[in-house]
Amino acid sequence: MSTAVKLAEPGAIIFDLASAELRDLNGTLQGLDLTTNQTSWAVLNPRGEHAIAVGITTPVNVTIDGHVGYYCGGMNDGANIIIKGNAGPGVGENMMSGSIHVLGDASQAAGATAHGGLLIIDGNATARCGISMKGIDIVVKGNVGHMSAFMAQSGNLVVLGDAGEALGDSLYEARLFVRGKVASLGADCEEKPFTDEDKTILADLLKKAGSDAAVADFKRYGSARTLYHFHVDNAGAY
């Protein structure tokens, strides 16, 4: 407890989930209005609990001191959440805006279907990272697992490490940037020319994620758009 308190920002209100109820935590954070002066919050002893800090609609800072379970920061709309540990499946799912920074690794479906905001994962993310993403920016400093960016619609996925099999399968308009090896590309995903616009976007995201990786070391992938209209001649591609 004392160690955790020290980790919290000065002035932060502390929720210790060893004793506080999840509903009290989420209810309090969801009940904040835009004029609140209490912008710093700390969560202690998350102990892998699910649905921590979901549905916050104010730009407050929430630091979670430990590992979290499923859907941490789900549908976040403005908060800046730091997870000092690993995150379970669906971290930042359907995020609308704000940011989530996972200092450890993330399980599958990180940033799934998210519309906006920034998700930074310092470690690795496993399967289906950015699945059906709809505008979010995701930066993974390690590797991503198979089927990442499956049916990704828009936004940017940056992978500093390697990508697993079937990257970007059935991709729509999301941009994928990978520095390491790609095990294989999914249906209708192809390497794209690296435009100046791409380079600007990537440089900005790397800067926001605190990475000094060189833009020139990345390859850019996107949709070949051959499956945008169903045609029987493409049936073998699925």
């Binding site: 509903r23 499946p89 669906g90 799912e93 279907t113 699945i131 945008y228 029987v232």
Partner: protein, 447 residues
């Protein structure tokens, strides 16, 4: 040489094969010409065991009826009493099933909201999100949470009166969807965050959970997102109803929605619609059994759908143990779909009023299953909503008439004991006696 008249030999008329019937032959020819399967809207069109195969016994010496038009027969239903802080109270047990803006026009969605609200019941969003027209005209709106999460956002989630987690639908259990490019208008594209005019696929699996254990956690998240206020429905297509309902309950559902294979879809392969899933008649009793085995019948509510057309269907579904029904295809017909006055336009599309099912093409002359502005403008949402309200009223009055005849003071007092079946198949599926006997196939022996 004597002229003799040739003996008259009777000719047999051309005989069509029962196996290779004219429709089947035409389908083979169509497939051979195109190399692609047939896609259409709607639900199963083949003859299936259905509510028509059941009859109510009515009251006589051993049962005491209620006076028609005089004695009260309640129709209301409360949904979401298990965990939600704010259960839904509807005046009638007939709800409007989920149908998307995208597959339907904005006017059609508005009309559904208007009609449902006038009748005191709920309507439901679909794949594609919630429109202001729909929310504004729907007193009680159920927000579907689908695998694609098109249009899903926190603000709309909190505006909903309940959340329906869609796992499947009766027309295509295990299948996703495809909205063809001609229906991806600028507005639909913007709501779904997709390029205009492309064929848009709806996933068949949720992106961030797999299986009932994960679903339980997903429901926890949805409740935490909405202050535990809103009832959580889980919708499944009828295939393994006993196990699916059991798992839905285990995952924490307040309400289970069970959709039979007659339930409609905006667009799916004909072969999928006709050959995957089971009729709603066969699904209700196993679902109710699952609820009863867990001691949660009437505590977790059951909504059934797929082929509900009349008040008799409503009454039969409730008698078999459902708490409410949902209608989709019938609601569209009430709005004006397949209206005979549009026959000349249906003919131009190669079909006829009553059979039009190419809802995916977006050329609906009734202005319902389209995103074409000119076609959509043909549907007056006020008048169409009024027609739907009328129809909902008739369904309710018919169900009440039957319930009173069975001596029931509320539609929920109808029970399997009020029913018999006209054939062995229906008796086995509905688990009610074959008419004139006490035989329930699979349950009892002898007559």
């Amino acid at each position: 040489m004597n002229e003799t008249s040739a003996p008259h030999i009777p000719q047999t008329p051309p005989r069509f094969s029962a196996t290779f019937d004219p429709y089947t032959v035409a389908e083979i020819q169509r497939a051979a010409a195109t190399g692609i399967y047939d896609i259409r809207g709607g639900g199963s069109k083949r003859k299936l065991p259905h509510f028509d195969d059941l009859l109510f016994l009515g009251a006589s010496v051993s049962r005491y009826p209620l006076e028609g038009y005089r004695e009260r027969c309640g129709t209301d239903v409360i949904l979401g009493t298990r965990f939600a802080k704010k259960p839904i109270h509807l005046k009638i047990p007939v709800t409007i099933a989920g149908m998307s803006f995208g597959s339907l026009s904005a006017n059609a969605k508005e009309a559904l909201g208007r009609g449902a609200t006038a009748a005191g019941t709920s309507t439901t969003t679909g794949d594609g999100g919630m429109t202001p027209e729909e929310r504004g005209h729907s007193e009680t709106l159920i927000y579907q949470y689908l695998p694609s999460r098109y249009g899903m956002n926190l603000a709309d989630l909190r505006k909903a009166d309940a959340i329906e987690v869609v796992i499947g639908q009766g027309a295509k259990p295990g299948g996703g969807g495809m909205l063809l490019g001609q229906k991806i208008s600028p507005r639909v594209a913007q709501m779904r965050n997709l390029p205009e005019g492309i064929d848009q696929r709806s996933a068949c699996r949720h992106p961030d959970w797999t299986g009932p254990d994960d679903l339980e956690i997903k429901i926890l998240e949805l409740r935490e997102l909405t202050n535990w206020e809103k009832p959580i429905y889980i919708k499944v297509g009828a295939s393994r109803p006993y196990y699916d309902v059991t798992l839905a309950i285990k995952a924490g559902a307040d309400v289970v929605v069970l959709d039979g294979m007659q339930g409609g879809t905006a667009a799916t392969q004909e072969v999928f619609i006709e050959h995957v899933g089971i009729p709603i008649l066969a699904a209700i009793r196993p679902a109710v059994q699952a609820l009863q085995d867990l001691g949660l019948h009437r505590k977790v509510q059951l909504i059934v759908s797929g082929g509900i057309r009349t008040g008799a269907d409503v009454a039969k579904a409730l008698a078999l143990g459902a708490d409410a029904v949902a209608i989709g295809t019938a609601a569209l017909i009430a709005l004006g779909d397949n209206a005979p006055e549009l026959e000349s336009e249906y003919k131009k599309l190669g079909t006829t009023a009553g059979a039009y099912d190419d809802w995916h093409e977006g050329r609906d002359p009734a202005g319902i299953t389209t995103q074409d502005d000119k076609l959509a403008a043909r549907l007056d949402p006020v008048k169409a909503g009024h027609r739907l309200a009328n129809y909902l009223s008739v369904l309710t009055l018919e169900a009440q008439a039957i319930a009173r005849a069975c001596g029931k003071s509320h539609l929920h007092n109808l029970e399997p004991e009020d029913l018999v079946a006209l054939n062995i198949e229906a008796a086995a599926m509905a688990q009610v006696p074959l008419a004139g006997t006490s035989w329930i196939p699979g349950k009892t022996t002898g007559f």
